[in-house]
């Protein structure tokens, strides 16, 4: 990508990360709030007395020092551990906080990580969305496409956090999840016909009232509408979200058949091996039982003799030397030079000394 395109992209990401995010604001707030209060009161454990009273059973930490508060990500209402045990041990039950009718399960209760429950909720949502949208920059053709993708994901986050079009977003998320699953594991594709049948059933109800002929026409037309659009339309409907500039996923290349020679081959270039050769000198050996019974294979000898005879063919020392000299610095010259210097030094290699 060019530098021009990178610069705005980078700035955008910066803005997303550190700019107007309420999460970071509230985090900031959180730390600001904590430190002065703790410093002034010097009793960090009982900083906020109201938070230490269970809103359900009204027992306080003063009476029960081991009290632990839990929240359920369904509604984020805080209550103490004993209340959770008492109310939800026998299965799902509605939230005991007045005005909240959500059904909660005991298994989902957990201790909160952040003091601010809004932060807790936002982090949960972001975690969930990030798990579904885990594309990397390398998955996109251009940086702008990637940034647009990030923008779209951020919009989903905020829709869920602020409660805008939650149902519609959730439905799209579900579709996206299924499409993703199908993508990752093509063998486990379920027939994702449920949304289609619901749409069809809505219209077919209408059609049924009118008449069979009309229904047939409509059915065929709808079928003809669906079919020619084919894969592209299908994919768009299935995934719930469309991101532009995604690279096509390449299937891994099928494995080549195993080669027991591992790519090696030794074939004579200058002669063809005939398997048997007749020569007076060979016949005695060929008919000697010591040879043929002992495992001596005359063909091995023939091929070796041929290879020896033709071994020097096709080797042009002149050419190879010039190629070598042009390729590297002139090593050959140095080699002869060194010999020359040694010779000039008067200490020649004394061949007689060796033996």
């Amino acid at each position: 990508m060019s530098k021009v395109a990178r610069a705005p992209g980078a700035s955008k990401r910066l803005a997303e990360d550190g700019g107007a995010s309420p999460l970071s604001n509230s985090l900031h707030h959180l730390s600001l709030q904590q430190s002065p209060s703790k410093a002034s009161k010097a009793t960090p454990a009982f900083a906020d007395s109201s938070s230490d009273i269970c809103p359900v059973c009204k027992s306080s930490r003063y009476l029960n020092p081991n009290m632990k508060f839990l929240v359920n990500p369904e509604c984020y209402h805080k209550m103490c551990e004993s209340c959770v045990d008492r109310i939800f041990s026998h299965g799902p039950a509605p939230c005991p906080i007045a005005g909240c009718k959500r059904t909660l399960r005991k298994a989902k209760f957990r201790s909160q990580t952040f003091e601010d429950l809004k932060v807790e909720r936002e982090v949960d949502i972001r975690r969930r969305v990030a798990k579904l949208f885990d594309k990397q920059e390398s998955d996109f053709e251009t940086l702008i496409d990637y940034n647009n993708y990030l923008e779209q994901v951020e919009e989903i986050n905020w829709n869920l956090i602020l409660g805008i079009d939650v149902e519609k977003t959730e439905q799209r998320l579900r579709k996206w999840e299924e499409a993703r699953k199908a993508d990752l594991n093509p063998n486990a594709i379920r027939r994702v016909t449920e949304p289609d049948t619901s749409q069809l059933s809505d219209t077919s109800h209408v059609i049924l009232k009118k008449g069979a002929t009309q229904r047939k026409v409509l059915m065929s037309s709808s079928a003809s509408n669906l079919n020619p659009l084919g894969g592209g339309d299908d994919a768009e409907r299935d995934t719930g979200f469309v991101f532009r500039g995604l690279k096509k996923r390449k299937a891994p290349e099928p494995e080549k058949p195993f080669d027991p020679f591992d790519g090696w081959s030794i074939e004579p270039q200058y002669y063809s091996f005939q398997g048997d050769y007749n020569h007076n000198w060979f016949t005695a050996m060929k008919n000697d039982p010591q040879h043929y019974a002992g495992g001596y294979d005359m063909r091995e000898y023939y091929s070796r003799a041929l290879c020896d005879a033709f071994g020097g063919m096709g080797i042009f020392i002149e050419d190879e030397m010039t190629a070598r000299d042009t390729q590297g610095f002139d090593d050959a010259g140095l080699g002869t030079q060194s010999v020359a210097t040694v010779a000039a030094g008067g200490r020649d290699v004394d061949m007689a000394d060796i033996f």
């Binding site: 050996m285 002992g294 080699g335 030079q337 200490r347």
Partner: protein, 407 residues
Amino acid sequence: MAVSPVLSPKPNPPGTKATTNASKAKALAILNHSRSVSSPIAPSAATTPGDGGQDLAEQMNDEVRRQFVSGSRLGEGTYAIVYRGHFRSDPSKLVAIKKMKLNAEFKDGITLDSIREMRHLCELDHPNIIKLYAVFTTKDQNISLVLEHLPRGDLEGLWKDHSIMYGGADIKSWSNMLCQAVWFCHESRVLHRDIKGNNLLIAADNTLKLADFGLARGFADPGRPMTSNVITRFYRPPELLLGSQHYGGCVDIWSTACVIAELALRDFFLPSETDLAQLSVITDVFGIPTETDWPGISSLRHWEVNFKSAAPKRPQPLSFWRQRLPLLGDDGIDLLRGMMAMDPAKRLSAEQVLKHAYWTNYPRPTKKEDLPRQGDGEKKMGEDLKRAGGELESGRTDKVARKLNFG
């Protein structure tokens, strides 16, 4: 003036030997040699003319020796000490330096083992054969071979280690690497003559490498006898036990098949106490071959002693193999029986072995990176490299120098 006798005839195989054509490499060895070794000397020779009275061969030797740094000792044996080492230019590139001990038998020269090893290893350049980087001598006239560093132990240690689990696909992968190495040796006209689990070392990336060419030799001309007293006993083929002096690549094929069977069995396939018992162990499985099974067998030297008046034995049926080696499958057993045909003329050649359907049939051989591996094999590598060829690990005759008839 003491001049190492190695250096003049022995071209130093440079690390940049890229050419795959063996004959080509041979032709260029001299050229490469003069280029890569003498060129760095040139300045030093020029600047210090009175260089301690060294001649050219000694300077070249020093130059090679200076390329490597030797470190801690990995193992010591009767014939060699193995050190860990690395390239001076690149400390991350490890090597094993095998320092041959002076042998009492060969006071005036180099032991045959090391000559054979140097001679054949410097010609063979294949991913499944151990690489010889360089050879140099030290002040005390000992020859050091700079070999590839293979830290993951050997194949025998692998099947002996019962904490490691492996299956048919892993066996196929290892066997294939072994068969490729054998095929390459035979195509390059080298007989290894000591293939066994101990000599199959495993590199850091799980590649199997054939090592220890101390008993290797080129294929003989017809009419020239070779010694039949080669190959560690468990892996020795029947024709050598019958005293054949004219043999070919078939002897390595038998040993290879023994190693594959060993892998599948997780035990020695044809173990015996003595050389004499080995033949009866083999015939227990394969039966006693007659003149029709193996034409000309009665002309082999030790046939009369062993088989002339022996009660006939039938080979074991297919069910025996299926029951004994279930990991190989039917195609694997077919391959193994082809590789272990008693008559060496009927035995598969290395090329036929690699063309067998076993390799391409299901299951596909495991990829190198997925093969089970052994930890702490570096010490084992030292143990393996220091051993001389042709002996079992804890044999009675461990400390006895071998006598071979090098016909």
